[in-house]
Symmetry: C2
């Protein structure tokens, strides 16, 4: 089996490495930026190609891992490809493939990827979808070689998964960043709250987030809420986040 990777960002890189680990050949890498394609190609012993016209038509699978809004135009340049094509985006509907490609689907890895951080790909949920039974079976068979957690998820539910991931990961990380800023402004080390961040994430592995909720808002501790709000009076954007999230906690608990 041969796989072509289109893209060279975090998802493309981690997927290419996962194929390598699973003894699946990555034959070619293409990227908008040829230098980036070359870097990734070297990592996985593949050929970097400068044009999508050079895509190997003998490849069985072409994986598109690029910015969401570039997927449609890239697909328009791949109508000649004979194998199956998948995209890897959480929020892009299956219908992005249009009617000029025969076998297509989605391979969405539900994880946050950093270029330089290795991950155990086998524990990453892979959400799969396809336009026909054979292609679905093929994508599933490939996915199972990469991960122990393969789930069939249609476009609508995949979009919900992605939205949930934005709340649980992207927004959460931003709250870490806001906390880091507050600490730095007061000569306090971010290291001090790392055990707390770790435990907060660990807790919900064994109980529901609702059960795990602590803090002044869930205790209705108005004195502390007021005192925190007073501290943020010169940072209106932070104050708005503080009030919005505290009110939401009160409403949900």
């Amino acid at each position: 089996m041969k796989v072509v990777i289109v893209g060279s960002g975090n998802v493309a890189t981690h997927l290419a490495l996962a194929f390598l680990d699973a003894d699946i050949e990555v034959s070619q890498v293409w990227s908008n930026n040829y230098g980036n394609a070359l870097n990734l190609a070297i990592k996985v012993s593949a050929q970097a190609i400068e044009s999508l016209n050079e895509v190997d038509n003998d490849a069985d699978l072409l994986v598109i891992a690029i910015k969401d809004d570039a997927i449609a135009e890239t697909l328009a340049r791949l109508v000649h490809f004979k194998g199956a094509i998948v995209h890897t985006a959480g929020s892009v509907n299956l219908n992005v493939f249009g009617n000029k490609i025969k076998n297509y689907g989605v391979l969405y890895p539900l994880q946050t990827f950093s270029k330089d951080k290795t991950l155990d790909f086998r524990i990453i949920p892979l959400c799969v979808e396809a336009n026909n039974y054979e292609t679905l079976a093929f994508i599933k068979a490939v996915a199972i070689k990469l991960s122990d957690k393969v789930e069939e998820v249609d476009s609508e539910r995949r979009k919900v998964l992605h939205l949930s991931a934005v709340f649980a990961c992207n927004f959460t990380n931003h709250l870490y960043a806001l906390a880091a800023n507050l600490l730095a402004e007061n000569d306090l080390k971010f290291d001090l709250i790392k055990p707390l961040i770790k435990e907060t994430a660990n807790k919900i592995l064994t109980t529901t987030p609702k059960n795990a909720q602590t803090g002044p808002a869930v205790r209705n501790d108005e004195q502390t809420l007021k005192s925190h709000e007073a501290m943020l009076v010169k940072q209106p954007a932070l104050l708005e986040i503080y009030k919005t999230l505290s009110n939401s906690i009160k409403k949900h608990n």
Copy 2:
């Protein structure tokens, strides 16, 4: 050395157990609710007392781990106590002790506690403060027996630490809860995003949250942002959180 615990909630329980682990005798436990005092007293082989008048004046340390707004009134009933008194609150100033108690301070464990979840207390940062040098030395000596991470932090900076903890822990946990709700509403399992939550917390142990930021807002992926907002149109409170945090990410990155 003998310690009296005032309170029977999560912090009181974990601290009492940490004293036990450190071979420091917990001699008495008092709580608003005598039944709760009794439960905790049994766990740590202490005596449950019904009234603060029964507090053993031979004890060296009395630890107040109760709701923030009950601390002042409880202290008013402890002016006869001869040992050192500490509270454990993040946002309560040292001046809550007034001028009728001789030796006092703060022992603030920077962690989120659940009653039934055991924790390695030795990795929990303990922030200490006191009203005089001898008491500070005493509290520090006790703290070092409980944890490897003892930090001197004054009231103002402790308040900032607590506020940062609200962002990084309480708000973060609430975002997990909102994600769990979105998933449940669409028959998707919360388990699917647990690896993501774990990795999001793990990432910032080795890089800054700013470096770790991913998602549509930091990519300026307007198409996905608009599509997510459209999904939340019937949940205005969630939509507000989505917009507020996405804008904050854009502004900070």
